[in-house]
Symmetry: C2
Subunit: 388 residues, 2 copies
């Protein structure tokens, strides 16, 4: 079975792009990835594309062929929708397709346009990732759902709003030099604590923003990279996917995300690594509490121990295992259908040395990305390794 290499990566700026269409955003990211890879356009055999809410935000479905055309590709294309894990699944299927020998070169990524809706509209659109019958009709939106999870966490394991504030502060600090980030702005613990509540115990700085943006990666087989002399030191060596009950009410524990554990165990096994081998990770921090649950579900911390990691400085840029050096969804932004691809782009740049925060992980050989759908009813985990 061939290995899968990241030949090139591309992003748009994450933020508000009121004057640009989704196809325009994706075309920019795809072009950047192709240029970074140096792979000719007609070598790309398939587009694996993630998008979540295009039917609502742009009244545009069938975005696979549309985005292939916008990106100047003549190849077939498939759209994956897995809520906020859409691009993670798209990339995972690209990895599988290259490993199977079906394809040698696949463009994977995603796009979301969200700021063209007002906050109510975006919140309602995001809510289609939850269970319409059993959650949304009862008034549950995502800030409310994650607030329930945070409350359950505090009740089961302890922890405080101040612990969560340290996560927000850390991720804002990590984004300071990231030119693609929506917020390149430091915040203080006090600011986070004093910010207006969104859904108690979560306040404004516990939540990721509403974002427009796109991500793209050119993935190639080892053989293709060798034959075409492609400089691609980073490989995707592990991939896993997990699922859980859709509605929170049906879960065994509100403060645990077993879909992430399932995905991680498959990915670790696939790559032949353990949680202890992972030196740097991008995790799905749509809310600060989500980062905590991710750290624990991925096996980095025992349950109840992840909440203090940022406060103790273990997950900061100068910590033992920096988490979300991109700024995370919290500060880099969260264009939902693009996020899973963006995490892979950021990790690739971190490991190969051309990320503003690469110096913090200059010896790291193993990185992980964790992309979640809804309240982690689905999760995708990838392991990336670099030739040093």
């Amino acid at each position: 079975m061939t290995g899968v290499r990241v030949a090139g990566v591309g992003l748009t700026h994450f933020g508000s792009h009121p004057d640009r269409t989704g196809r325009d955003l994706f075309a920019e990211a795809a072009l950047a990835a192709r240029e970074d890879a140096g792979v000719p356009r007609d070598h790309i055999e398939h587009l694996n594309y993630g998008n979540f809410m295009g039917a609502l935000s742009e009244r545009q479905g069938h975005q696979g062929p549309l985005m292939a055309e916008a990106a100047g590709l003549g190849c077939p294309a498939t759209r994956y929708e897995q809520a906020c894990a859409s691009a993670g699944v798209a990339a995972r299927e690209a990895v599988k397709s290259i490993r199977s020998g079906e394809n040698d070169v696949v463009l994977a990524g995603g796009m979301e346009r969200m700021t063209n809706m007002d906050t109510d509209g975006a919140t309602e659109a995001l809510a289609i990732a939850a269970d319409e019958l059993h959650e949304v009709r009862s008034g549950v939106t995502f800030p409310g759902a994650y607030a329930l999870m945070a409350k359950a966490y505090f009740e089961a394991f302890g922890g405080s709003r101040e612990d969560l504030a340290h996560i927000a502060v850390k991720n804002h600090r990590h984004a300071l030099d990231n030119e693609y980030a929506q917020f390149q702005k430091e915040i203080s613990v006090e600011q986070a604590l004093d910010a207006p509540p969104v859904a108690s115990p979560l306040h404004l700085y516990d939540a990721c923003p509403i974002t427009d943006g796109a991500s793209a990666l050119v993935l190639v087989s080892d053989e293709y990279a060798e034959e075409h002399d492609v400089d691609a030191p980073v490989s995707i060596t592990g991939s896993g996917q997990g699922a859980d009950k859709m509605a929170l009410q049906d879960r065994e524990h509100l403060a645990r995300t077993p879909a992430a554990t399932e995905a991680a165990e498959e990915a670790y096994d696939d790559a032949g690594v353990s949680p202890d081998d992972v030196e740097v990770a991008e995790v799905h921090d749509c809310f600060t509490i989500a980062e905590v649950m991710a750290l624990e579900s991925l096996g980095f911390y025992d349950f109840g121990e992840g909440i203090g990691a940022a406060r103790r400085g273990e997950t900061t840029i100068d910590g033992d295992r920096p988490i979300n050096l991109s700024g995370g969804l919290k500060a880099k932004g969260h264009p939902v259908g693009a996020t899973g691809g963006s995490q892979l782009v950021e990790m690739t740049r971190l490991l190969r040395g051309d990320h503003p925060n690469s110096d913090a992980v200059s010896d790291a050989e193993v990185g992980l990305t964790h992309n979640a759908g809804g309240t982690v009813a689905s999760a995708v985990v990838h392991i990336l390794e670099v030739d040093r």
Copy 2:
């Protein structure tokens, strides 16, 4: 590389189900497929699920894990959206996944709920499969788009509304004994010609209906079938996917669908068969003219020759190569996200001998299914073969 067998198939009745949710419909089809296959629930390793307009019709995204749960499965699930080819793509990716050795047992299928919207709402929802910027904003909906294609066909090759009427009459006749069909009702050429216009030259009986329904297939590797003594005489031996420009205005010829040709050539090559080997086919007749373009793009007829096939009796149940023995989208119905799976279900039943129209193809060994997205901006073709 292992072969891929159809171990079991399931459908709901296609029609109007005002009192049922989408998850309820899919659960019924999935259970039927599992019972038909005799495969234990916990052997199913992945759900590949197609849905097109759930964000609009049920305000429900993230349907992969939701449908896995509804179907009583504990496995990860992925939603594919490719407009009306969503389930075709979901099944194709299942085939690839089994062939690669990644999975031995995959449940593939799809679901759509449409009749809970009024006709205007459904027409607007379907229109997200077209190009929002360049087509929909100019007032193009799908009846209008296919009317343009029909006009272009008549202009380039000749043909008449009466030729198209023979296709509608044929497909209604084929659906007469199909208990899953929305319309088990014969119509005459005169009725079709006298029906009210929808978008000239297409009249009411040239168009498929608005439909609720679900489809499911249990696909397994040859090894699994042998090891578990699964009775599965039908195999999927070829699979292909093609793409075209999204908007009609950018196509080279309005009356040709090269995405279908691309998909078919890949599938023929994959199966090692030629168009002449195909003895029976289910093609994507969302409008009568679409069946004509399919017959020609698949290589069954030269351009300009497909229009008279039904009139000449070549594609009827007693013809040389019966087309749409299920009744097609025209008479069986078209729950868009389920249709690609339904075509595979119908072809499986036709070939293995338990379809009401199986007698017409009792010697046939090779069948084809053709599933199209939008105005065939994407297409998926499968070849099925039966052990006789």
